[in-house]
């Protein structure tokens, strides 16, 4: 595009391609930025490089087989992804989940939220130019959580542990002690990250006032999770439409008002403390009991119907729209991706920023391309 100039020299905006393979894009994501010097004038995001057709595949598999595909959409918070899916099946099949299974689910999804946010802290620190230390701090405690998950489920990322009705099997007998160990380590890890980044003057200068999005715009774009709460929108499905046992424990919804990159970072950081509190309360309430309903059919069949189940995943609303026409498999399954909707607002947040800050803006909405592309 040619811009008008008062002089005889002609200046021209540059098209700058970032990705699909680029460390700043956190996966296979491509954006074409139109830059005027150092300033971003337009952003065209391209997604779809990781599209695997999970929705279509789920239509051909029975309900239990679909769990594995959910893991592979949101691979940094598989527990949360599985939770939406099994809750959708439970809602349509009218299954009652035993209390113990619900408390264990809650511990695991909150731990997974912490591990996902820790990963964000590490990657975001690198985006902000602090190579190394935040990544190591973040991944150290994430590793502790993943080790725990491995002991429980047998896998480090693709758990396939939740089942419609409850859990695949009960947790090991040393579960409570191990969770407490992990929580102690995580608390230290959050403190370390907090001390390293939150009050770091260079970090503050890089993140404050950058990529601001207003509450009205965030709602209009359908943003969710910490990315919308940082803009001052009190929106948290765990509180607004409680599922599991969120209404029975004491916790706060973390919000900020600035709507900038730092606010989104800080919301995630504070959310980890809330998750720690939640896990501790869940552990106190955990009692022996059933982990699956007593009468479960070998092959789950659902009556015709449809349901849209939404849960609060680390990145926002992870929704499952499930249509059943009877039988043992979904007729239609749609995954509502939080990142897809958050990513739509990227242009709104990046235009007018410097190129280096656009990378931070992208980092601050914490995308998982597996979830965007499904």
């Amino acid at each position: 595009m040619v811009t008008e100039s008062a002089h005889e020299f002609e200046t021209r905006d540059l098209l700058l391609n970032v990705g699909p393979q680029h460390p700043s894009t956190h996966g296979v994501f491509r954006m074409v930025m139109q830059v005027d010097g150092e300033v971003v004038r337009d952003v065209i995001p391209y997604v779809g490089y990781l599209h695997r057709g999970a929705e279509k595949l789920c239509e051909t598999m029975d309900y239990r087989q679909g769990i594995g595909f959910m893991d592979r959409t949101e691979y940094l918070a598989s527990m949360n992804a599985e939770l939406s899916y099994v809750m959708a099946v439970e809602a349509i099949a009218d299954l009652q989940v035993p209390d113990r299974a619900q408390w264990i689910r809650m511990i695991l999804v909150e731990l997974n939220r912490i591990s996902s946010h820790l990963m964000f802290m590490g990657a975001f620190g690198v985006d902000a130019g602090i190579i190394g230390t935040p990544m190591i701090y973040g991944w150290r405690e994430r590793e502790a959580i993943i080790d725990l998950f491995e002991e429980i489920t047998g896998d480090r990322m693709m758990f396939a542990y939740f089942r419609p009705g409850g859990l695949a099997w009960d947790v090991p007998t040393n579960f409570a002690a191990r969770v407490q160990e992990v929580i102690a380590a995580v608390k230290q890890g959050i403190k370390d990250l907090d001390g390293l980044l939150t009050y770091n003057e260079v970090f503050l200068a890089r993140t404050q006032g950058i990529g601001v999005i207003s509450a009205a715009d965030a709602i209009d774009f359908g943003m969710s999770g910490p990315s919308i709460r940082a803009s001052g929108v009190h929106l948290d499905i765990r509180r607004d439409e409680p599922y599991l046992k969120y209404s029975e424990i004491d916790w706060n919804v973390i919000t900020a008002t600035e709507g900038d990159v730092f606010a989104r970072y800080n919301c995630r950081l504070q959310e980890m403390w809330e998750s720690v509190r939640m896990v501790e309360q869940c552990l106190d309430r955990l009692e022996p009991g059933l982990i699956m309903p007593e009468k479960m059919p070998r092959m789950l069949r659902t009556p015709p119907g449809e349901v849209y189940v939404r849960t609060e995943a680390p990145r926002g609303e992870y929704g499952i729209y499930l249509v059943s026409k009877g039988g043992n498999r979904p007729y239609r399954l749609k995954v509502r991706s939080a990142c897809l909707s958050n990513l739509q607002a990227l242009k709104q947040m990046s235009v007018g920023q410097y190129v280096a800050d656009a990378i931070l803006v992208l980092g601050s909405i914490d995308i998982v391309l597996g979830e965007v592309d499904r």
Binding site: T60, G305, V309, R332, R336, L343
Partner: protein, 183 residues
């Protein structure tokens, strides 16, 4: 109105009494002048709106002072084969905190519907995805490119029921893919 408008009996709903305790009364009032029909879903109220009136209906729901559906959770489609394609909108109000599912049924010979991007910008990418996956066209969409599919893939619609899976799924055994007569 050209849609076939067949009730799906998605739930064991009978009109009238079963809608007690839902927001149907307010929705019906907000949709004055539009022939809407409601049924009770598993979690949320489902409202059927004719495709020709969809944008007017959605805008009325968004701007109604008590309903305030300012948030588009999800937009997708369901291929009901002979009964046409349902466009499904999942709405939420961030202030009143209630949900609504809106459906518009498109007949198979007229897969056009007006874009909801004029109501919520959130509809933009969701409509692009729905268009490429189901072959539905959103009239007036500001950016009608493909989203997840390759740019030149404009004649196959993967999430349609008549779209087969790749060969490898057929080889995985019974129950894993389409059988020959399904194709």
């Amino acid at each position: 109105m050209t849609s076939e408008n067949q009730p799906e009996s998605a739930t064991d709903s009978t009109p009238g009494a079963t809608l007690d305790g839902t927001i149907w009364a307010e929705v019906d009032r907000a949709l004055a002048g539009i022939t809407a029909r409601a049924e009770r879903g598993v979690l949320d109220l489902i409202v059927h709106i004719p495709p020709a009136e969809i944008v007017r209906g959605l805008r009325a729901l968004k701007h109604d002072t008590t309903l305030q559906f300012d948030y588009l959770r999800c937009l997708t489609a369901v291929d009901n084969e002979d009964e046409g394609i349902d466009i499904v909108y999942h709405l939420y109000s961030t202030t009143a905190r209630h949900n609504l599912t809106v459906k518009a049924t498109l007949p198979n010979d007229d897969l056009f519907i007006d874009t909801a991007t004029t109501v919520w910008r959130a509809a933009n990418w969701l409509e692009r995805e729905t268009a490429e996956m189901f072959g539905v066209r959103f009239n007036g969409h500001p950016d009608p490119r493909t989203l997840l599919m390759p740019e030149d893939m404009d004649d196959t619609f993967p999430l349609r029921k008549d779209h087969p899976l790749a060969e490898i799924e057929l080889l995985q055994g019974d129950g894993m893919g389409y059988t020959e007569e399904d194709r």
